[in-house]
């Protein structure tokens, strides 16, 4: 369960980016986070991946109030969150393989397992021939796929993706969406921030719409009753998708 209660985010003396944001996400749910450019999507993702403390309000992840977390407790919580950054944030001196292997190495997975699963996942996202390539030698779309592979390799409990299909063609974009849905089917809560209306309309998942600094919830499925914009959003129906090979991280809760 993810809970935002009266959350506000403000940078320095500027106007608040988010104010009084309140919602809950059920475990295993799938949401698009939509809104115009500069609306605060990235700020909200930052709060979700513990990269930014809210100016006020309560954020609870997996039953823990993040304000009460001490420094030593943060890494374990972060390991349950996979993040696809908008600017990829790949480590430039590490190969494609090592970038994707990073979450597993941090989690202490054995090298033999790492090799098997990283190779399998990179093959699936079409980068089998680029295992040793350094990120600066890859195209934008390839870097994006590496970033996505790194985010999902440890099969996180929560996957956050900031414009994950922005630099890839439609075919690859669909494959990646199927990957996210497969993860979601296996229990991962997914939040995808995107501008891509076509993508949003193609996959009828619930939407968190940021407008004027606050969140409105929209469910495109007409038969789904939805009580209030600030109510709890349930897990979506399972969707079909391709087989994926992300590793279940030892000790990772679903």
């Amino acid at each position: 369960m993810i809970l935002f209660d009266g959350v506000a985010v403000q940078y320095s003396a500027g106007p608040p980016i988010l104010h009084d944001v309140t919602f809950t996400l059920a475990p295993g749910s799938f949401h698009f986070l939509v809104g115009r450019s500069g609306a605060g999507k990235s700020s909200m993702l930052k709060v979700l991946y513990l990269g930014l403390r809210p100016t006020r309000g309560t954020v609870s992840l997996f039953g823990r109030d993040v304000a009460s977390l001490n420094r030593a407790e943060m890494p374990a919580l972060r390991r349950r969150i996979g993040v696809v950054f908008q600017d990829f944030r790949l480590i430039e001196h590490l190969s494609t393989f090592d970038n994707v292997a990073l979450p597993l190495r941090i989690a202490g997975v054995r090298e033999a397992e790492i090799k098997k699963h990283v190779t399998e996942l990179l093959s699936w996202v079409g980068l089998k021939d680029h295992l040793d390539a350094l990120p600066p030698t890859l195209s934008g779309g390839q870097q994006q796929r590496v970033s996505i592979a790194r985010a999902v390799i440890a099969r996180p409990s929560l996957l956050l993706a900031d414009e994950p299909t922005g630099n890839v063609d439609d075919v690859i974009g669909l494959r990646l969406m199927y990957l996210f849905e497969e993860l979601n089917r296996l229990g991962t809560t997914v939040v995808i921030a995107t501008h891509n209306d076509t993508l949003v309309s193609r996959f009828s998942h619930r939407q968190l719409r940021i407008e004027d600094g606050s969140i409105r919830v929209f469910d495109p499925r007409p038969m789904t009753a939805y009580p209030s914009p600030q109510g709890t959003m349930g897990a979506p129906a399972a969707t079909g998708g391709p087989p994926t090979g992300p590793v279940r991280r030892p000790g990772a809760a679903q």
């Binding site: 990269g51 890494p75 480590i91």
Partner: protein, 298 residues
């Protein structure tokens, strides 16, 4: 031990200059510790060499007749020999006294027109306690200006001086190690600033501080060992060279003193352990610096 690293610490400028700085500090440490160990050995030799000896000085008046002088000398020898704890007493010949004075008065010391006292070299059991004041009083009843010297004051002064040298060597070693630690702190902080972006990503992926610290400490250990071994090599060569030079000079100037500046095997083991000490110091300093610095980050 050095394993996989997510941070490109090997490419930092610090990776090039840190081994040289650590090497130089290790070099200074090796020299200082070797000096301290040598001084310790010299002090022990002096202490042991003089602990079992007494010197009795009998300044006979110049006008005293030869027969009278011999009679008083015999009485003094008999008194010394009968003193409990004394194991032997020998009257030094004139040429032996001249040899003792040679370092101060030159090779013609025996030919100078200076009244020299008669000297008795006394050996005693090292565990014997001799009443020096009582012995002197009795000797003065035979020869009025007789003196008894157990070299205690001289040994105390000399040992005090040697201990000061040892303290100086210890202080120099501590300064060198401190400078090495400060350099590691500076290099580590620079590395944290240089790789801040990567560290943030690794943090966000879920790495605890100790995961990042492990990479810095492994790098510091590796560079510390490299620099330490280089410093030890140059330091050992210098110690050997200086030892031979001093021994050669002293032997040439005064063969009688027989100084020995060679280090014992266990002392070489101590010197050989210094690179490890320096490398471990670098490793723990890097670890502590990283953990303290990261604690101030989000």
């Amino acid at each position: 031990m050095f394993g996989h690293s997510d941070l490109p610490l090997n490419r930092d400028a610090s990776a090039r200059f840190l081994p040289w700085i650590i090497g130089f500090m290790t070099y200074l440490c090796v020299i200082a510790v070797a000096a301290g160990l040598t001084v310790d050995r010299v002090a022990e030799r002096w202490r042991q060499g003089l602990a079992g000896n007494l010197t009795v000085e009998l300044p006979f008046p110049a006008e005293l007749e030869t027969e009278k002088r011999a009679e008083q000398l015999d009485q003094a020898m008999e008194l010394v020999a009968d003193t409990p704890g004394v194991t032997g007493a020998t009257v030094l010949e004139d040429h032996q006294i001249a040899a003792l004075l040679e370092p101060w008065l030159g090779p013609d010391a025996g030919q100078l027109d200076v009244p020299l006292p008669t000297m008795i070299a006394v050996t005693r059991r090292t565990d014997a306690v001799i009443d020096l004041a009582g012995l002197k009083t009795k000797l003065r009843q035979i020869v009025p200006d007789a003196e008894v010297d157990d070299h205690g004051d001289w040994v105390a002064d000399a040992l005090g001086f040697l201990r000061s040298l040892q303290a100086l060597a210890g202080a120099l070693s501590a300064l060198a190690l401190g400078a090495a630690a400060l350099t590691v702190i500076f290099v580590t902080r620079t590395g944290l600033a240089t790789h801040r972006g990567v560290i943030e990503v690794v943090h966000l992926i879920g790495a605890p501080d100790r995961y990042i610290a492990r990479q810095f400490q492994a790098q510091a250990l590796k560079l510390g060992i490299l620099g330490g071994v280089v410093g030890l090599g140059f330091g050992a060569a210098t110690v050997l060279g200086i030892g031979r030079l001093i021994a050669f000079s002293l032997d040439a100037a005064n063969p009688g003193l027989a100084f020995d500046f060679r280090l014992l095997p266990w002392q070489w083991v101590v010197l050989g352990a210094l690179p490890l000490v320096v490398a471990l110091l670098a490793m723990f300093t890097a670890r502590r610096t990283v953990l303290r610095s990261l604690a101030k980050m989000l």
